[in-house]
Symmetry: C2
Subunit: 350 residues, 2 copies
């Protein structure tokens, strides 16, 4: 088989379907978010970035940058090892404590990304708890799906945000079978929010662990910028809360917050946690500053809610339909890959 | 099932076997590597870190830190999105070009870690090339094994560093079956180096792609700090070279270097590449500075070779046995987990 030729055939297919990705070569500008410089064919021009997930602009916040500069000068560019082999830095330890507190949990565990935290934590729980069956929301993120796939544990899909279907699927399993219910709080495509209390009711009735991905909610909702579960007073009913440091907190990395024993279990058995170099100390320092800042500052979240309302009003004014939902995500469904790419090109160019 | 009780039982087992991990809570000190501050029960003390993989101390190099400070002030704390959704920064683009050049390849692709680069690239190639069979060295790293497992492709294990066994395993497969041979250049446990030319001979005779993990070699060997394959003039014979930015280059992140079509294929089909926030721009800036610096500076590599020889002489002087090998890794085999932990505690305490 000629693999190079095969690769090129597949690109042709992607191009025909309008799904071939072209990455914009950008330079974000501190102090000017969402403006950036676009590099294109040797030329540069100023553009507006319409699609960052640094929702609150924390990636340019002076307090976060100052914390990172200081830690960079103090501890250097990298962790210098895996967490077990000299790579645990005091900033990691402090950040894990802070994240545990943010989510009202005993402990937290850092990963190199949100993707890895889902993949590794779900994969480890599903593969290392003997006989575990995973019940997964139909619209869960790719990182969760890869974690379940990798675990080789049996997976039952329940209808999206449907506690009754979850209860039916749970009832089909043996009483003594260990069960893990995995879902998200805010779904990024439609911006809808899960009925967390009702999903927990079903899980508890059948003695299942619960795993909640709060990647699209941490830092945005709840009293101290925790997330949806905190806002609704449901932290105690969730076995694992997973989040990211890359969106609202403006940096990079992911984590889980859970009981001390569960965190220690994932820490001890997850290949994706301990066979990888730890996050750089200054990245942890920046996240620590960001989490602490958003615990007490409300102006960023209030501004965002106001801007979401403004954008929805503008879209209404010009007759662009958008899905109603209770979250910060404003979905405009184009429904055609080619047209969608064209619109994003227009937004970038003009 | 009571999961908390189950977790605790497993910890007891690990403790009995001397395999329960306790992470040292450290603060590396720029300007003083390998010295660090150990935080322990509310007290601090100065220690020497014996087990960093920042082999050349690039994590404290002024040129790398300056590049990171500058990019941090220019572009902010994070990438602000996935590579496809506004997260590609000009530093990523420049770093990918530099890494392609370092490895004499057409292109390169960045990942959030070396672990993810192996898992995602191997997994994508093995699962997306129809009918692909992977031939894997018996001692390949966990990240490669997870990538192969996740792909669900058939895997044949060949004896460690044994081209004859590889050829036998290849001969058993159908001529038209796509084949991918995966191995490392320097193995981290024994420090032995693969017979790359002979493994490529076998792969070429059967039309197989070759995938070389150079994680323990990049920046240390070869004319421009490329790696073993460059040192031996074998770059052209390898389909994929995988490396890390976290060890010799002192930061965090991983990559593959390969043909433009192969990189584009992994870029287009790897969930672990495009469903995750990109590395922060300043991390890419630091890696870029580090790769460029090590292309022209030889003193760090020469010093390291001298220090490896010195350590081996000291071990000989006091009668501590160590495995002979041609690499920079000096393996002292303790052979007992409890005793090994005791020795590492003594090295940390005294």
């Amino acid at each position: 088989m000629n693999c190079e030729a095969y690769f090129c055939e597949r690109f042709e297919e992607l191009r025909k379907e309008g799904r071939y990705r072209v990455f914009a070569d950008l330079e974000r500008e501190v102090g000017g978010f969402p403006r950036a410089t676009l590099h294109c064919r040797g030329e540069k021009k100023q553009v507006t970035v319409w699609c960052s997930n640094d929702y609150l602009g924390m990636g340019q916040h002076p307090a976060i940058l100052a914390a990172m500069h200081e830690a960079l000068d103090r501890c250097g560019a990298g962790a210098g090892g895996t967490r077990n082999i000299s790579g645990t830095n005091h900033y990691h330890v402090m950040l894990e404590r802070e994240l545990a507190d943010l989510h009202d949990k005993e402990d937290a565990l850092l990963f190199t990304s949100g993707y890895v935290s889902n993949w590794a934590a779900l994969g480890t729980l599903a593969s290392c708890i003997p006989g575990c069956v995973v019940l997964s929301d139909a619209l869960n993120h790719a990182s969760m799906i890869e974690g379940m796939r990798g675990s080789r544990a049996p997976v039952r899909i329940f209808a999206h945000n449907d506690p009754a279907d979850l209860a039916r699927k749970l009832a089909e399993l043996d009483r003594d079978t260990p069960k893990l219910v995995a879902f998200e709080s805010v779904y990024s495509m439609d911006g809808d929010i899960a009925p967390i209390a009702e999903l927990c009711d079903a899980a508890e009735a059948y003695g299942a662990l619960t795993y909640l991905d709060e990647v699209h909610a941490v830092g945005l909702y709840g009293r101290h910028g925790g997330r949806i579960a905190a806002q609704q007073g449901l932290s105690d009913r969730l076995s694992v809360i997973e989040g990211t440091l890359a969106k609202r907190f403006g940096g990079v990395g992911g984590y889980i917050a859970a009981s001390a024993a569960l965190c220690d279990f994932v820490r001890s058995y997850s290949s994706g946690f301990f066979f990888t170099t730890a996050l750089p100390p200054h990245v942890a320092a920046g996240a620590l500053a960001s989490v602490r800042y958003l615990k007490s500052s409300f102006v960023e979240r209030d501004n965002m809610q106001g801007r979401v309302a403004l954008l929805r009003r503008w879209l209404d004014d010009v007759g662009v339909p958008h899905l109603r939902n209770p979250s910060h995500i404003v979905p405009v469904m184009v429904g055609d890959a080619d047209l969608c790419k064209h619109i994003s090109d227009v937004l970038l160019d003009k």
